[in-house]
């Protein structure tokens, strides 16, 4: 059997159809299992806030110790043709970008700058 780490790449289309809590459960259930999750379109700031909150509730001694998460800084709405009118029309998710999430005890960011994220992942 191949030894290693499972990586789940979740498409933006799938994420668009999910509610905030469905996304958070999908991410945390995977990460608690020891998998790495890559989200094509990332999470909104509100979803990130809820993810931190729910992650804290899942931490246990000698078990799950939290998440390591990396994403690029959100794109400014003006450069995306969004801004005021996008908000007025209720456009969601603007500015969110590809995001990598893994278990804190298995994933470590080696290098991060504005256009490159380099992470190291170990198996359990």
């Amino acid at each position: 059997m191949i030894q290693g780490v499972q990586i789940n790449l979740i498409s933006g289309d799938r994420l668009d159809k999910m509610t905030t809590m469905e996304k958070i459960r999908l991410i945390l259930d995977d990460v608690i299992e020891g998998n790495i999750v890559v989200l094509e379109t990332g999470l909104t700031p509100d979803e990130q806030s809820k993810l931190i909150e729910v992650t804290m509730l899942e931490i246990t001694p000698d078990g799950f110790s939290g998440i390591e998460m990396e994403t690029y800084a959100p794109k400014r709405s003006s450069s995306m043709g969004g801004g005021f009118f996008a908000k007025l029309l209720g456009k969601k998710g603007s500015g969110t970008r590809m995001t990598v999430i893994g278990p804190a005890n298995q994933m470590k960011t080696i290098k991060k700058d504005k256009d490159l994220i380099s992470a190291w992942v170990s198996s359990r």
Partner: protein
Amino acid sequence: MNLFLRTKKRLSRFVNAFFKKRQSRIGIYGPPNAGKTTLSNRIVRDWTGDALGPVSQIPHETRRARRKEGITISNQNGNSVTIDIVDTPGVTTKIDYQEFIEYGMEKDDAIKRAREATEGVAEAMHWLREDIDGVIYMLDSTLDPFTQVNIMLVGIIESRNLPVLIVANKIDLPDANPSAIRKAFPQHPVIPLSGLEGNNMDELYDKMLEYFG
């Protein structure tokens, strides 16, 4: 201050006076060990002679949000603002009790501290979504500001359209590099200071009057 902020300030004064809105709650946010409680204590002590909570070298000393009501900050021009200061637990995405054992804690105490710290982080996030009107975001200026937690939290604060001041704390230390924080967050005012020594507090109070008044 730009026209938008001035208009927003005037409008909010009018609304507050008309509806007798409660005082603004200013949350002191940031990663663990950035000096949030030290700064909270200094602000509260400077204007009321009181204190908010204990400080420690061990991360997550503050595990419950603490609020001090009715702090009036004023300057020599006669401007003043009355706010509540909310000292919040340090925000992180991971907590391992082993970290506290490395500081010499017993296992049971470390596990208890970790459990309380997780509750504290969740509480801090809840306050930010529901009950905070402005933020002082604290960073240790001896550390790299480009961390995911910092970028994410500043993004969350911006998405809620809350006024934010960034404090580059610990400028009394030789490795302090507040310019790295300015580069990381050029869209916000950055105030270099030492909460411990009380250096440059006047600039912070002036900015608090400008942004939270």
